[in-house]
């Protein structure tokens, strides 16, 4: 895939606060890329720099290989879906969507065709003449998406576009956005702090924290192979345990030695061990490598969340098998369920 946007050592300061601390990121053609991270980590700022609303303090933004630092927002081939939609309240649905085409003095006939097709795509064909201020949140969201997409940008930037919607609508829109992106085949740069949303929608997930990129990878990579404790903790509800890497393929935590699939660490290196809740198996006490007692059981719809307390800590486990509270149990792990990672400052 060809690169369309490259961020090179991008920094941004607000006063004496450094909000972006050297972002390096390649965004490819037709990619659905998500910036994922906790609130305040710099996602919006990154997006605003790409759109041209903020100037970077340092580094470069390349678009199709050309530095666009000096290009004003209205000349960039990107469009934004704003966090709170930012629809023009003095225009109806049609005129909102047609705004960009009007500006570019597109022929009236063509404007009508394009706007209608776009409204069709987002499922608002009958809403042309509606007052945008009277639409529901989900409908406003769709207008905002249509208004951006009708300009056929090379890249669409979306800043937490689903944040204000209720859970059910959110799921629907996630599905639709993904569908639209596939249909028209352009690059989406999507911002969210919701890890589930990021994992289900994206081709590439960029995990950010405090103005730095923690990991870039496919959802599966990010989920299965988190590179550090922060990513592991942010994605899912992993058990993160201090351990010692005794030698290649052998790690000790909670006073028990386990086989694992990691190597290349110095002898007896302190490491973080990440265990996914769904990777831990509950067995009879005598069959387990760790022993504990069930402390709580919560039904989560598809699986149970079970908390097992051992001598050292509480483990969070997801399983479809029920286990009664206060039952003594054993826990086992296969080598590839154990993710060993370097300790980081986070």
């Amino acid at each position: 895939m060809e690169k369309i946007i490259e961020l090179k050592n991008l920094t941004k300061n607000f006063g004496d606060q450094q909000v972006l601390k050297g972002i390096n990121l390649d965004i490819h053609q037709n990619e659905f890329l998500t910036l994922l991270g906790p609130s305040g980590c710099g996602k919006t700022t990154t997006l605003r720099i790409i759109a041209g609303f903020e100037e970077p303090s340092g580094g470069e933004v390349l678009f199709d290989g050309i530095d666009i630092s000096a290009v004003p927002p209205y000349k960039r081939e990107v469009n934004t879906v704003f966090q709170k939609y930012a629809l023009f309240p003095h225009m109806n649905v049609f005129d909102n969507v047609a705004f960009g085409l009007h500006i570019r003095k597109v022929d009236k006939q063509i404007v009508e065709t394009k706007v209608r097709r776009m409204l069709d795509l987002v499922g608002l064909s009958d809403y042309e003449n509606r007052d945008v201020t009277l639409l529901s949140g989900g409908q406003q969201q769709r207008v905002a998406i249509a208004r951006a997409l009708v300009n056929e940008p090379k890249v669409l930037l979306l800043d937490e576009p689903l944040g204000a919607l209720d859970a059910k609508l959110r799921k629907e829109m996630q599905f639709e956005l993904k569908k639209i992106q596939k249909e028209i085949g352009i690059t989406f740069v999507f911002v969210t702090h919701d890890q589930e949303e990021a994992l289900t929608m994206s081709d590439t997930v960029v995990v950010m924290n405090e103005g730095t990129i923690q990991q870039i990878g496919s959802p599966i990579d990010i989920y299965n192979e988190p590179e550090n404790r922060f990513v592991a903790g942010f994605i899912g509800e992993s058990n993160i345990i201090d351990g010692i890497m005794n030698e290649d393929f052998l790690v000790t935590f909670d006073d028990v030695q386990f086989e694992c699939v990691d190597n290349g660490f110095p002898r007896d290196e302190p490491v973080d061990v990440v265990l996914r809740p769904e990777d831990i198996d509950i067995v009879k006490p005598e069959e387990g490598k760790l022993q504990g007692v069930v402390r709580s059981v919560t039904f989560k719809g598809v699986h149970y969340e079970i908390v097992v307390e051992t001598r050292h800590r509480k483990y969070r486990i997801h399983t479809t098998d029920f286990c009664a509270v206060d039952t003594p149990v054993g826990l086992t792990l296969t080598p590839d369920d154990i993710h060993v990672m370097w300790k980081t400052p986070y």
Binding site: A51, G52, F53, P72, P73, Y74, K75, V78, N79, T80, F82, Q83, K84, A86, L87, F88, P89, H90, M91, D95, F99, G100, I103, R104, R147, A148, N151
Partner: protein
């Protein structure tokens, strides 16, 4: 809620005594003839017929002309100022708006006397001009002096409502316009100005109202010959004593103003629809 309704009673009574009753009286006076007592009212349209006289018609036309000119100048000068103020940091905005309102803290009469001193034939400007050997310009007692006085007095009432609507505008709408390809001028024309219309209408209506009904400024800066509607009404009540005719003029003025406000409102709606 009942409880609160009772609390509003004094205000309601106040409104009735000081607004509704005078209004009813003025209309009553306008439609009756001189010398009638409360018991025997002689209804008549004679007062309105009296206005249909070239002298009075000219006063009306001149008042409207000067009112419109004053309003236009206040708008042309006030909008950019309000816009520039609204672009500043919040603390700077507060300060600038305070500065805009400072003149209104000083009595209008005093300010108008100050203008008289500045504009008079032997005033400050002419003093400067003659010292530079440029001769004299008559500025007092002209349309110029009256409009200048009105513009200076009423400008804050144009700036403040426009500034209010500009400063509370959602900044992301401006970014959205630019994001969609509008340059600064297009963004201003298609989004910012359109969204500031409520403020513009408020300012225009307020300035026009004050300009068309003012009588102190034309009297002082226009001189005795300078008669606008306000002066006409004043003289009918104060010096001539024809309250009925004065009331008739007031009533007509009120009706004309109501029509003008209606027109403004509908214009805004139409423009919104056209866009």
């Amino acid at each position: 809620m009942r409880h609160f309704r009772k609390l509003s009673m004094p205000y309601l009574i106040w409104c009735i005594i000081f607004i509704l009753i005078p209004l009813v009286l003025i209309v009553l006076y306008a439609f009756t003839t001189v010398g009638n007592h409360v018991i025997s009212l002689n209804f008549s349209l004679a007062n309105f017929a009296k206005i249909n006289d070239p002298t009075y018609i000219r006063v009306f036309i001149k008042s409207f002309e000067l009112g419109v000119i004053t309003t236009i100048i206040c708008f042309i000068g006030g909008y950019p100022l309000a816009f520039i103020i609204s672009r500043q940091k919040e603390s700077v905005q507060d300060l600038l708006i305070l500065l805009v309102t400072v003149p209104t803290w000083i009595n209008m009469l005093l300010r108008t006397y100050a203008w008289m001193n500045i504009l008079a034939d032997n005033g400050i400007i002419n003093g400067l001009l003659s010292r530079l050997g440029l001769g004299q310009v008559t500025m007092m007692y002209t349309n110029f002096s009256v409009v200048l006085g009105m513009v200076c007095n009423f400008m804050p009432f144009m700036i403040i409502p426009i500034h209010t609507s500009l400063s509370k505008m959602d900044g992301s709408l401006i970014e959205a316009a630019m994001d969609l390809g509008a340059n600064r001028l297009q963004t201003f024309r298609m989004v910012i100005f359109r969204l500031s219309m409520p403020g513009v209408i408020n300012g225009v209506v307020m300035v026009f109202l004050m300009a068309i009904s003012s009588f102190v400024i034309p009297k002082l800066l226009g001189g005795g010959q300078f008669v606008l509607i306000g002066n006409l009404i004043e003289s009918q009540f104060i010096s001539i004593g024809d309250w009925n005719f004065g009331s008739a003029i007031s009533t007509i003025l009120a009706v004309l103003i109501l029509i003008a406000m209606r027109l403004m409102k509908s214009m805004d709606l139409k423009e919104a629809e056209a866009n």
